[in-house]
């Protein structure tokens, strides 16, 4: 392959190396996720004051918004990994793309349910077919479509290619979710947090939100590494390095 890619990256792409690498990093990512998550929960549920308009109901934001960001972030990762897998036929990129899908679907599901639980007391309805909610629901169906298509094929690599293609087409929905509150009239509020510029949120409320966002990022890394490791064992079942692991774990 191209010689501009550093050697260590080539090596990391090999299943046994990635298996060890991910195994070493996964516990740290999970520890950080739990630690940051606990701090964010304390900050959001205990330290942050009640909102002057929404009272304590606004506290759903500390899980709703990070989950919504993860639902889009993971989709973008899945799209990029699928593209790499389709163009360069890298096995690890396929694994990353396909193992991201269930985690992304989980976060999308959380976003929809927590949003519904927030919408009922604030808007007076569990659900409305407006742009933000509908495009997020489409995102869930895209994730489920990718998972379903992947499992519909007898040959896993063929399935990963077909599902990767669907994932790439679906990337178009990510900006639609993000900008839907600006492009259409909607019940859903606009962004409160702004990366470039002033956020419309008090610091007492902002730091737990950002900390939880970081926690969900680390959680994704940990979960993806666990899933990818298991998937590599399944995929490479005939190889020597997997046999050694199977025999070692039988002794324990």
């Amino acid at each position: 392959m191209s010689d501009w890619i550093p050697l260590w990256l080539h090596k990391l792409g090999s299943p046994p190396t990635f298996y060890r690498f991910a195994g070493a990093l996964q516990p740290w990512a999970m520890t950080l996720a739990l630690l940051l998550g606990a701090i964010a929960l304390y900050g959001g549920l205990v330290l942050a004051p009640a909102d002057y308009q929404q009272g304590d109901a606004y506290r759903i934001i500390f899980i709703h918004v990070p989950s919504a960001w993860m639902s889009m972030f993971i989709y973008a990762v899945m799209g990029v990994a699928s593209f790499i897998a389709l163009v360069w036929r890298i096995k690890l990129a396929e694994v990353v793309a396909m193992q991201s899908a269930p985690i992304g679907a989980a976060f999308t599901f959380i976003t929809l349910v927590t949003g519904s639980l927030w919408g009922k007391p604030m808007w007076g309805t569990w659900w409305t077919w407006d742009a933000r909610l509908t495009s997020e629901l489409v995102l869930l169906f895209l994730y489920l479509g990718v998972i379903g298509l992947y499992h519909a094929f007898e040959d896993r690599r063929q399935g990963a290619r077909a599902a990767g293609f669907l994932a790439i087409i679906g990337v178009i929905n990510v900006p639609i979710v993000h900008f839907s509150v600006n492009w259409w009239n909607t019940l859903h509020q606009g962004s409160t947090v702004n990366v470039f510029g002033q956020s419309k949120m008090a610091w007492d409320m902002l730091w737990p939100l950002l900390t939880m966002t970081l926690a969900t990022k680390f959680y994704y890394v940990a979960s993806l590494f666990r899933r990818a490791r298991t998937d590599l064992l399944d995929m490479e079942g005939g190889k020597d390095w997997v046999r050694r692991i199977a025999e070692e774990e039988a002794d324990q």
Binding site: M30, A50, D56, F109, I110, L117, R226, R229, V242
Partner: protein, 68 residues
């Protein structure tokens, strides 16, 4: 009302806030347990396959040959 009761009451929104947090944790706990269960199953099936293979090899090898 005690401080703890006050906390759990969530200003009257307890019926919305706590289920939202419950869903968040239940879904993520399920997600984090899934790969461990699959790993267990994959390795068990692989060991069973390896055992079948080695049994077949022993049956097909001539009786005079020393077993590996």
């Amino acid at each position: 009302m005690s401080a703890l009761q006050h906390f759990f009451a969530m200003g009257g929104y307890a019926a919305y806030v706590w289920p939202a947090y419950a869903v968040f944790f239940i879904v993520l706990i399920a997600d984090s347990l899934a790969p461990g269960l699959r790993r267990h199953r994959v390795l068990r099936e692989l060991r069973a396959r390896l055992a079948r293979q080695s049994a077949r090899q022993q049956r097909h090898s001539p009786p005079s040959a020393p077993s590996a």
